[in-house]
């Protein structure tokens, strides 16, 4: 848990979500002033950096939730015909739960005086790395985001400093684990807690895979390209 140094008391503008929009204007300025050769402009990566404290942690969870929810919205808008009624029921439920989590995270940030990150629109999320036209492709996509979310939650409980927010987080986390297991069982029956997500030997035996925010954001950045997601000043304990 964070010590007093990472207190979450909102302190106004200084805690605003920090967005580096190094877009067209900044890039052209660099071209004019710093780049001697107009043929090879400098590579400028637009980046979203998370803030510190609970505001940063909630925004981290919010990003995960936005990417996941949008995937389900896309799939359910044009579901592959080979999805069974049971598959669709599960996917629709998970979509609804994620939608509720996403909205509640936003309300929670507002209730705590935090700024929700609006640096990227959901329409720009890119799921081209998935095949969303087959049953297997859809389940594969949903499973990989669900397992990623569970691993992210496993690494994020220690980051929250507010007891109220930790209790809310815990309630959502259990359901995230249920989602991942349900999807895994649809795709490969009996794989709900297989060794790729729960090591069976060694010091981590019986413990769900855990990922740090840096690892999770690197994964998520594949869906937000060209915008890169950075841990910024997220707390580490």
């Amino acid at each position: 848990m964070p010590e007093a140094s990472s207190s979450t008391a909102p302190s106004g503008l200084s805690r605003r979500t920090f967005l580096t929009h190094t877009g067209v204007a900044a890039a052209s300025l660099l071209l004019l002033t710093a780049c001697p050769d107009p043929e090879t402009p400098p590579v400028v990566t637009p980046t979203i950096s998370l803030t510190g404290g609970d505001e940063g942690v909630l925004n981290y969870l919010f990003l995960l939730e936005r990417v996941a929810t949008e995937l389900y919205a896309k799939v359910l808008a044009t579901p592959p015909a080979e999805l069974t009624a049971a598959d669709l029921g599960v996917l629709r439920d998970i979509y609804r739960h994620n939608f509720i989590h996403r909205e509640l995270l936003q309300l929670t940030m507002s209730a705590n005086g935090f700024t929700a990150n609006a640096g990227i629109s959901a329409q720009s999320f890119d799921y081209a790395s998935f095949t969303l036209t087959t049953r297997l492709g859809v389940l594969n996509a949903a499973q990989s985001l669900a397992d990623l979310t569970v691993a992210a939650y496993c690494g994020a409980a220690r980051l929250l400093s507010s007891g109220v927010l930790l209790r809310l987080f815990v309630k959502m986390m259990a359901v995230k684990a249920r989602h991942a297991a349900a999807l895994r069982d649809l795709r490969t029956p009996g794989s709900f807690a297989a060794t790729d997500v729960v090591p069976q030997t060694g010091a981590e035996a019986g413990l769900n895979q855990v990922l740090t925010p840096a690892e999770v954001l690197a994964e998520l950045s594949k869906f937000t390209s060209p915008v890169q997601l950075s841990v910024g000043s997220l707390p580490t304990s």
Partner: protein, 281 residues
């Protein structure tokens, strides 16, 4: 009266453990100029869930989760191989192995936290506590009953970890490990529900409303799972049944169901203990 200190007092007064403290705080409110309170604050107060505060120490959390893990370990140890299809047997073997890994870690945390490991109690999975008044008399002779009890125990485990996890928040090692065990228990619970679905039971992978699998009035493992008010800040709760848009032919009942499914509610220490005691004595 100092409103902030009053609010703090109210927030820490757990309704179950200290009903009088909470009543006292509310009594004091009656003596203040309630009309002068901003309506929003008052609304948040009235919406304040009675069970939002979780009382106990880190050691309480570790001991309680250990008792639940023991209960499950003992349950799977007693499952008769002849009753269970081979594929399901493999699932049970995996689940039990992971639970025993949790037990080893929880026991080591309890020792290093200065706690004493109790002896394991006696178990009776008929719910009869060694007597003849049984709730699940065919638990080890009827596969459907066996799966129902297994599901109840897994959901009990999830709700117990949800209670315990915030209690170990000051210890990074313990909160990391408990989170990771909690996630595994969530996976187990969803799988048991999947196994029951395959056998025709009308059940989802997530707890939908206050289900009634454990038919005793004193210990229902699903009590409180129909909650839709979630606390989002010290003084604020939100009704999560208002967050889904009413489009696409979704019914009011479906919206409410989703709102309850999206959150697994922690059990209180006393509620979890009462459920453990249905099977342990």
């Amino acid at each position: 009266m100092n409103l902030l200190s009053f609010l703090e007092q109210l927030a820490t007064a757990d309704a179950a453990a200290h009903p009088t403290a909470r009543r006292g705080a509310l009594g004091q409110l009656a003596h203040t100029a309630a009309a002068a309170l901003p309506a929003a604050v008052l609304g948040a107060l009235l919406a304040q869930p009675a069970t939002a505060q979780i009382l106990g120490t880190g050691l309480d959390g570790l001991q309680l989760t250990l008792r639940v893990e023991w209960l499950q370990d003992e349950f799977y140890a007693r499952v008769p191989a002849s009753l269970v299809p081979a594929a399901m047997q493999a699932d049970f073997t995996l689940i039990r192995a992971q639970q025993r890994q949790h037990i080893a870690l929880l026991e080591s945390y309890i020792r290093t936290s200065g706690g004493v490991l109790a002896a394991r109690p006696s178990y009776d999975f008929t719910g009869g506590r060694g007597g003849t008044s049984q709730i699940f008399p065919d638990v080890f002779t009827n596969l459907d009953t066996l799966l129902l009890v297994a599901q109840v125990l897994e959901d009990l485990s999830v709700r117990t970890y949800a209670y315990a996890l915030p209690l170990v928040a000051s210890n990074n090692d313990q909160i990391d490990s408990l989170s990771r065990m909690f996630a595994v228990e969530g996976r187990h619970a969803a799988h048991l529900r999947q196994l029951r679905r395959q056998r025709g039971a009308t059940v989802k992978h997530w707890i939908s409303g206050a289900e009634t699998a454990l038919p005793t009035t004193t210990a229902n493992v699903y009590a409180g799972e129909d909650r839709v008010l979630q606390q989002v800040a010290g003084l604020a709760s939100r009704d999560v049944s208002t967050l889904l848009p009413t489009i696409g032919g979704i019914t009011a009942a479906e919206i409410r169901a989703a709102a309850t499914e999206a959150f697994d509610e922690p059990l209180t220490y006393d509620a979890a203990t009462a459920i453990i005691q249905v099977f342990a004595y």
